[in-house]
């Protein structure tokens, strides 16, 4: 038997008719279901991205060098405002004047890097 004829015979099958209206109903409900799934996925992803972005921003803010906060009162005088500068000078004067042990006070001022300023501004401690 001719092989082409054979495959045509084999592939022939009775095509039962399909109810068009039911098919259309199923088609549109499936289409809507897929669209809503896609929308849900998109919303989920957007929310995820927002959370990640917010977390990153928060983290980057918190991750600022903590030494800045800790050493705020030990900042060099050049970067202080006038009011703070005056206060620090007064404090240094007070410490020197009221000190029982001048060397201990000097050692303390040296520890907070105050020596240069004292020398520069007051011509040194005599």
């Amino acid at each position: 038997m001719n092989f082409e004829k054979y495959i045509k015979e084999v592939s022939d099958s009775n095509v039962s008719s399909l109810n068009e209206n039911i098919f259309l109903e199923k088609l549109h409900s499936e289409r809507r279901r897929r669209d809503s799934n896609k929308l849900r996925l998109f919303n989920g992803l957007s929310a995820g991205v927002c959370v990640l972005l917010f977390s990153f921003i928060t983290f980057s803010q918190l991750a600022d060098d903590p030494i800045v906060y800790v050493s705020n009162d030990l900042k060099s005088l050049e970067s202080m405002d006038i009011e703070t500068e005056t206060y620090v000078y007064e404090l240094a004067d007070y410490l020197v004047e009221t000190s029982d042990d001048i060397w201990e006070t000097l050692a303390f001022l040296d520890e907070i890097n105050f020596e240069t300023v004292i020398i520069n501004e007051n011509g040194g401690l005599e």
Partner: protein, 173 residues
């Protein structure tokens, strides 16, 4: 009666009913095509549904560069290729569950032979598979096959010839 082009334009203009009319017009061909592939009404209906869902999205941007019928047929072929690929894996995974042909009655034997044929078709190279599918499932002339695949008529004939030779070897093995 409105042409496919008119219906598509109406659909693009927001008329959903035009799409429904288009589906009703092309459903018998599409469903019949998938029935021949799958021999299973449920699977054929699912495949037809998938194709028309894709069409729903694609038609909104359809630019009428080809006939809708050709466009739909290409979509059917692509869908059947995916089905054959899926089926190939399914057959590989369920080989031990395939019934022995010797124990089958006549109707089951027909079913078995059909399955054997489509399994063999799934093993063909893509171009041959597409040509032979169109010839067998739709009995399309070479000219239309060539148009749908974007190849020339002689190339379609050669692919069909090679496909038949390979199928003969596979089935008579």
């Amino acid at each position: 009666m409105k042409s496919d082009k008119e219906l598509i334009k109406e659909f693009q203009g927001g008329n959903e009913e035009a799409f429904n009319q288009l589906v009703k017009r092309h459903l018998p061909d599409t469903y019949g095509f998938f029935i021949k592939f799958t021999s299973d009404t449920v699977e054929a209906e699912d495949l037809a549904q998938d194709v028309f869902i894709k069409m729903y999205k694609a038609l909104k941007k359809f630019r009428f560069e080809s006939e809708f019928k050709t466009y739909l047929f290409r979509a059917n072929i692509n869908m059947s290729n995916s089905y054959l690929r899926r089926n190939k894996w399914r057959n590989l995974l369920h080989l031990d569950q395939a019934p022995e042909p010797a124990y089958l009655d006549t109707s089951q034997e027909d079913e078995w032979r059909r399955k054997e044929l489509w399994d063999a078709i799934s093993k063909l190279p893509k171009k041959q598979r597409m040509v032979v599918s169109m010839r067998i499932a739709k009995e399309m002339p070479y000219k239309e096959i060539a148009l749908a695949m974007g190849i020339n008529v002689n190339s379609a004939k050669v692919s069909y010839h090679h496909a038949i030779k390979t199928l003969k070897d596979l089935i008579n093995k």
